[in-house]
């Protein structure tokens, strides 16, 4: 039962992630990326990480992908001709590097996991209570720093988008 669920979800995730990478229109890539994120949320549930699964759907499939959709709406991009423009040597290099990364990770996994399972896994690991206990005790400083990081990101984005307007006001000032 668990194995069939895993295989079905893994195949869906793989196919949709490949469609993200090969999609011609950015909007199709975004929709397939949302499918991939939902599959990842299913994996989190199977691994007993309920809180992280909820965060995955709310933050990734909700907030982040809405940002992407807004950018596609604002930019109004034409269909790109990416595959024609790429030289064949570049394609070969890209495939070789991707396969190299895959082989490195697979070797690392197979070498590391020869040791037996050290602890019996339990499914009550990722409850909100357990996450909060860790987050507000020994991970309190990183948690607060994450809030500072998000504030910095907000200010940075506002400054980046506002800069042009500011320059215009600076150039207008001497006239008046």
């Amino acid at each position: 039962m668990e194995a069939t669920l895993f295989i079905i979800t893994a195949l869906t995730a793989l196919v949709s992630s490949l469609l993200v990478v090969t999609g011609k229109k950015p909007i199709n890539s975004i929709l397939f990326l949302i499918v991939t994120f939902f599959c990842v949320a299913v994996f989190y549930l199977m691994l007993g990480a309920q809180f992280i699964a909820a965060m995955q759907i709310i933050v990734y499939a909700g907030a982040i992908m809405v940002l992407f959709l807004f950018v596609v709406m604002l930019l109004n991009m034409r269909e790109e001709q990416i595959w024609e423009k790429l030289t064949s040597s570049r394609k070969v290099i890209a495939f070789v590097v991707a396969l190299g990364v895959l082989s490195v990770v697979v070797t690392a996994v197979t070498v590391t996991l020869s040791t037996p399972n050290p602890a019996d896994s339990q499914y009550e690991l990722g409850t909100v209570e357990a996450i909060a206990e860790g987050l507000f005790s020994c991970w309190l400083l990183p948690f607060e720093m994450a809030s500072v990081l998000l504030l910095t990101a907000i200010i940075g984005v506002v400054m980046m988008v506002k800069r042009k307007e500011q320059e215009e006001t600076v150039t207008e000032e001497p006239k008046s």
């Binding site: 982040i64 950018v71 570049r90 860790g134 990081l149 984005v157």
Partner: protein, 101 residues
């Protein structure tokens, strides 16, 4: 047949490779950005799998922070992409070589 941690790690590795391929093959900055998100997610799967395997909550907390950093990164990155589009009228990364010598 039970699902072991190796299955999740193999899936994570394959998703990461797909993300690497996307970053290297595509010329659209937006799609490259989505491939980076895919790679971050595959790393998250590996972290949660190890958290389950070691019966330790710290992996899931780390995933929480990765999500916070990813949210900040997406906001800043998309703002940069919009600014580049305003300047160049395109998000093709071959046309953006302002910082290239």
């Amino acid at each position: 047949m039970t699902v072991t941690v190796e299955w999740y790690l193999a899936l994570s590795a394959v998703l990461f490779a797909v993300g690497v391929g996307g970053v290297l093959l595509r010329r659209n900055a937006l799609i490259i950005f989505m491939s980076v998100e895919l790679m971050l997610n595959s790393a998250n799967i590996a972290l949660v799998a190890f958290s389950h395997y070691l019966n330790n909550i710290d992996g899931q907390l780390f995933v929480f922070f990765v999500m916070a950093v990813a949210a900040a990164e997406v906001a800043v990155g998309l703002a940069i992409i919009i600014t580049i589009f305003k300047h160049k009228g395109s998000v093709d990364i071959d046309k953006v070589n302002l910082l290239k010598w």
